[in-house]
């Protein structure tokens, strides 16, 4: 049993993937809680598609792709935050902005001087993380954790009582922007290493799971980090033993954690109701 867990991480390529998962687990467990609580999971899922025109534009202008991706993400995040001021719900706003950016990306990509395969950058691979990816994930983890710690009371106040946040001296619009920029940064760093699919699963899965069993936000965040780290590393170990696609196994492990918690909660409710009766 111990060997089943430890064996995979004797392999350098698996160990690296695990380190990246732990770093991004810490980052996305905490940030993911605010994404789930603010109801912007749709933005988290779709934002990465907004990178495409940025990537193509950067390739055409000859500037670093990372920079182009960053510009694309920030444009997308800010546009989504602004469109939300209309009577449209966040998911509709996200949908409109991302559709426009995707269309623009496809048209830009038709330019004869655009290189092929830029789209494949969005399918980053967990087992191909570079030293730069690890360093970026660690640095971003520190920045995001620090900001979430400092902003915690403000986030709590605004999240709980958005309608009256202004009366309590906090601007919800400004906070939306901060959250959107943090999400854009996390997406930028994580998509290159993990790909869009794994990023959204890491951001939303553990937080949604922790929400099922948490009464307060701070413990929810700690629990989400723990779930993100344990479930994703377990998924990687399963990929090693069962010879199945690595990133997909991590996603399925995160989804399984949610399902098991949901089922466990249901059983606990039934048992409690029985013992009370």
């Amino acid at each position: 049993m111990i060997g089943w867990i430890t064996d995979p991480f004797g392999e350098p390529i698996v160990l690296r993937g695990a380190v990246e998962l732990v770093l991004l687990g810490v980052l996305s467990g905490g940030l993911g809680c605010w994404i789930v609580l603010s109801g912007v999971s749709s933005t988290a899922e779709s934002l990465s598609h907004g990178m495409l025109p940025g990537l193509v534009g950067a390739a055409l202008l000859g500037i670093p792709l990372l920079l182009g991706g960053a510009v694309g993400l920030v444009v997308a995040a800010v546009a989504i935050a602004l469109v939300q001021r209309s009577p449209l719900t966040p998911d509709v706003a996200t949908s409109v902005v991302i559709t426009g950016l995707l269309g623009a990306g496809v048209l830009l990509g038709l330019s004869p001087s655009a290189p092929a395969g830029l789209g494949s950058l969005l399918f980053g691979d967990l087992l191909g993380v570079s030293d730069l990816d690890l360093a970026l994930a660690a640095a971003l983890g520190v920045v995001v954790t620090l900001l979430l710690f400092l902003l915690h009371p403000t986030l709590l106040l605004t999240g709980f009582d958005r309608l009256n946040a202004t009366a309590l001296g906090r601007s919800p619009a400004r906070l939306d922007l901060v959250l959107a920029v943090l999400l854009a940064l996390a997406t930028l760093v994580a998509v290159q290493a993990l790909g869009t699919l794994l990023v959204v699963a890491m951001l939303v899965g553990p937080a949604a799971t922790a929400r099922l069993v948490s009464r307060r936000v701070a413990p929810m965040m700690l629990l989400a980090v723990a779930i993100a780290v344990v479930a994703s590393v377990a998924g990687l170990a399963a990929s090693y033993h069962a010879n199945l696609a690595a990133g997909a196994c991590v996603v399925l492990a995160l989804a399984a954690a949610f399902c098991m918690t949901l089922a466990g909660r249901g059983i606990a409710h039934v048992v409690l109701a029985r013992s009370a009766a």
Binding site: L37, H152, P153, L156, F160, L163, L168, R216, M220
Partner: protein
């Protein structure tokens, strides 16, 4: 009234963006330290708009609103708060302390003690660790009052604070508001209950424009009430009167 002026409102008007008609107009009144003022009016009469003006959420459309060097605390209706959010009563009360801090500061032990004290004052010390959404409507309303207490503002705005309360809860809140006024705070409280208005020190009648402002006995004439509610009063036996209000919809939230 002898207390210091906390809020001076002079010929104020305001409109929502894109709306043709102003939501409220020709408001002229003041709030002094130590007095309880009831804002009486129908739904959509401009009570919430007035509060949003005072808290700074809505820009002034005309006139002068003077809240110099005075903080105000706002107690919203609990129906408007998120019940699915994972916070305890103590967390919510503590938000009052957060509102007094710059964004990078975190509430400390002293603030926590203040929040506990506020919950004790509203009679909720026993449920400080309960999740906000699991409390009853009346309890939630009192948690929001506790949050305003922690804000420690000289001016307190309450939006229909009694609407979700049962009889004992209402009595307890009434007592608390009297205490707070006695401490020298100004209290501005929206209501559409005439009895609540009669119990206040002064009353502001509002139906898109100001109908009357003054002590209840003098201000709450039959004509004022009819104009405030746009309805007719039916005289009942033994001197009691009932109001048949016309219905208003579409209050802006």
């Amino acid at each position: 009234m002898t207390g210091a002026r906390l809020l001076v409102v002079d010929d104020v008007a305001a409109a929502y963006p894109g709306a043709a008609v102003p939501a409220i107009a020709s408001l002229t009144f003041e709030v002094r330290a130590g007095e309880r003022i009831a804002v009486l009016g129908p739904n959509g009469g401009g009570k919430s708009t007035l509060f949003r003006l005072i808290t700074g959420e809505l820009a002034l459309g005309g006139g002068r609103l003077d809240l110099t060097a005075v903080r105000c605390a706002f107690v919203p209706q609990t129906e408007r708060s998120r019940l699915d959010f994972p916070v305890t009563a103590l967390d919510v009360a503590l938000m009052g302390a957060v509102s007094r801090m710059p964004w990078w500061r975190r509430p400390g032990r002293a603030d926590r003690e203040l929040a506990r004290e506020a919950l004790r004052r509203v009679g909720l010390a026993a449920v400080e660790d309960a999740v906000f959404g699991s409390l009853s409507g009346g309890q939630r309303q009192r948690v929001l009052v506790a949050r305003a207490l922690v804000q420690d503002a000289p001016l307190l705005l309450l939006d229909e604070p009694f609407s979700a309360l049962d009889v004992t809860g209402a009595e307890r809140l009434e007592l608390l508001l009297r205490e707070l006024a006695a401490e020298g705070r100004g209290i501005l409280m929206a209501t559409h209950d005439l009895d609540q208005a009669r119990a206040a020190d002064r009353v502001l009648c509002l139906n898109r424009v100001q109908i009357a402002f003054g002590e209840p006995a003098a201000a709450l004439t039959r004509e004022v009430i009819e104009r405030t509610y746009g309805g007719a009063i039916v005289d009942l036996a033994a001197g009691a009167a009932a109001l048949l209000p016309t219905h208003h919809h579409g209050e802006r939230r």
